[in-house]
């Protein structure tokens, strides 16, 4: 039970920081709630990272003290500002209330499934939670998790999710396997909530929550979420970036661009795919700000804020990649290797695999909805800056993933496809659903 205080403390810090940096903006309280949790968890995880770098080990008491000190300082600051922290109470909105109550059902299904699968999937105990145990229990030997002997555990991966779980473990003094499970259930619940809410807030359409429930009740989504993998975090923070960017653009708010930057930089420390996404999105958003004709007076300030936010959140990933990261023993450059050369068949197989994957029964027709939606909203698909950002990102990202599959010949292509393609696609599903349904609802609203 004590572990709850860990999540609560992170949330409170996230909320107070969010309030402090977004003074001149208006954000729906529920969206603020979700962003705050995401932000708070990032901050707590980053504090552990800096503690590991400076002191060489995780010290639970010290970490809790730092987080509490931040909380005290932020509470003091909050008293000086007139802005309401969070509008409590039941919202006076029937559509919203009905939809929010359905999330109780989502939570129930997630909890039931997670309890049947308490240690999560292969990558949970072989990679993510193993790293968390090294960080939490390893004292000054935590770097042993990077030992080449542990190459089976992908020791070269970054570790934002393990840091989050290690942070929560600080409140119970044991590395309970219920903590990674709870973390995954929370994020698995917040992700469709964020999807539904952001669609509802931006379009006010009565069916805004339908795509969120479509994804949340999909057995494959539930399985991948409760597997306790870091892909869920990539999916969550990707959607945070795009929705935050959307609001930042609408309100021309430098502080929301700063927050977009924080989310953008943070995904670089979740997974290698996150690092690719982070760099890609940072470049695309910078270009978008430069070319945005609606932003004239505050262009420099917005750009500075976005770069500052991204830069701050990128520090752990940059530090890790320069000073800590061991060599990736699971990479063979097929273009130069004579023993494992790549081939055009490999590339063709990869491209075909995308089509085969989306036709698989375990997606239960989800991709037909996405593709159908794209076809229906084709004319309004590339209108707003957010839509342009998402589409450009998706094209570049999938191209990079395909090139990686093509070049890295350490494993046969069938192995990569079977073990990772559905997870990679699932990280993009919330963003794709947001883009598709936003475009559809937008075209309907325009007619209305």
């Amino acid at each position: 039970m004590l572990y709850i205080f860990g999540y609560l403390l992170s949330f409170c810090n996230g909320l107070l920081i969010f309030n402090l940096i977004t003074t001149k903006t208006s954000i729906h309280p529920l969206l603020k709630f979700i962003f705050s949790f995401g932000l708070g968890m990032i901050i707590s995880a980053h504090i552990i990272f800096y503690t590991l770098v400076v002191f060489g080990q995780l010290i639970p008491f010290f970490l809790i003290l730092i987080n509490l000190s931040i909380l005290s300082y932020l509470l003091y600051q909050q008293k000086q500002t007139p802005k309401t922290l969070l509008a409590w109470g039941i919202p006076n909105d029937t559509i919203l209330n009905i939809n929010l109550s359905i999330f109780i059902l989502v939570l129930a299904t997630l909890l039931l499934k997670a309890s049947l699968f308490p240690y999560g999937g292969w990558d949970a105990w072989a990679i993510w939670n193993l790293k968390a145990r090294f960080i939490f229990l390893g004292a000054d030997q935590w770097k042993n998790m990077l030992d080449p002997v542990l190459m089976h555990t992908n020791n070269h991966y970054p570790f934002l999710l393990p840091l989050m779980n290690a942070w929560i473990w600080c409140f119970g003094n044991t590395a309970s396997h219920w903590v990674p499970l709870t973390t995954s259930v929370i994020f698995a619940l917040l992700l469709p909530m964020l999807l539904g809410l952001s669609l509802y807030i931006t379009t006010k359409h009565k069916f805004s929550f339908i795509p969120a429930f479509l994804m949340a009740f999909l057995p494959l989504y539930q399985l991948l979420s409760i597997s306790q993998y870091a892909d869920l975090l990539v999916a969550f923070y990707l959607l945070c970036i795009f929705t935050c960017f959307h609001m930042a653009n609408e309100q021309k708010s430098p502080s929301l661009f700063f927050l977009t930057g924080i989310f953008c930089g943070s995904i670089s420390f979740i997974k290698d795919e996150g690092l690719v996404s982070s760099i890609l999105i940072a470049v695309l958003i910078t270009f978008s700000i430069f070319t945005n004709k609606n932003i004239t007076n505050e262009k420099n300030k917005i750009l500075k804020n976005f770069i500052l936010g991204s830069g701050l959140a990128l520090i752990p990933a940059v530090f890790f990649n320069i000073f800590i990261r061991p060599e990736n023993l699971r990479f063979i450059n097929g273009l130069t290797s004579t023993s494992d050369p790549t081939s055009w068949q490999r590339l063709l197989f990869t491209i075909a695999a995308y089509f085969i994957e989306i036709l698989k029964l375990n997606w239960q027709g989800l991709w037909f909805i996405i593709l159908g939606g794209i076809l229906l909203s084709f004319k309004t698909l590339y209108k707003t800056n957010t839509q342009k950002l998402i589409i450009n990102f998706l094209i570049c990202y999938l191209t990079i993933i395909t090139i990686n599959y093509f070049i890295n010949t350490h494993y046969p292509i069938s192995f990569w496809i079977n073990t990772s393609l559905n997870r990679i696609l699932m990280t993009l599903v919330p963003t794709l659903l947001f883009m598709t349904f936003y475009s559809i609802f937008l075209s309907q609203n325009k007619k209305g």
């Binding site: 105990w125 004292a139 069916f207 429930f213």
Partner: protein, 136 residues
């Protein structure tokens, strides 16, 4: 033309709602099927009692006669690694104070113990033996 598109969007939304309902039903069915299956057994769990003995060991040896690159032995190895972390299971350097012997047949483990003059300390329900390398 506009009305036609509007009808198409409405059909699309109805289809999405129907599919959401279908997902909910299959999700419930999935939970029911999984709960009826045999309970989930985490192989690594039976190694948790060894943590007390290995508390101060940053590295121990891991011996197996199975091919650790194939799925099932690798899964077992990684689950034990999870349970015993932050102690590293070293399959390459066996010159360690403690050795964990996880062979397909317990007799093979005993033969290795005799051959290398190891001192068996503990044995779990899967026949995995923790031995002390007295010569270390």
């Amino acid at each position: 033309m506009k009305n036609q598109k509007e009808t198409l969007i409405q059909i699309f939304i109805i289809l999405t709602i129907t599919l959401t309902g279908f997902n909910l039903i299959t999700s419930a069915a999935d939970i029911y099927t999984r709960s009826k299956n045999a309970p989930y057994i985490f192989y690594g769990e039976s190694f948790i009692p060894l943590r007390a003995t290995l508390q101060n060991e940053s590295r121990i040896g891991y011996v197996t006669d199975q091919d650790i690159t194939s799925i099932a032995p690798l899964q077992r190895f990684l689950q034990i690694q999870y349970a015993l972390a932050p102690t590293i299971l070293d399959t390459k350097n066996l010159n360690q104070h403690y050795i964990l012997l996880n062979c397909s047949d317990e007799k093979i483990s005993i033969e290795i113990i005799k051959k290398f003059h190891l001192k068996p300390l503990k044995r779990n329900s899967f026949g995995v033996i923790l031995a002390e390398n007295t010569g270390h």
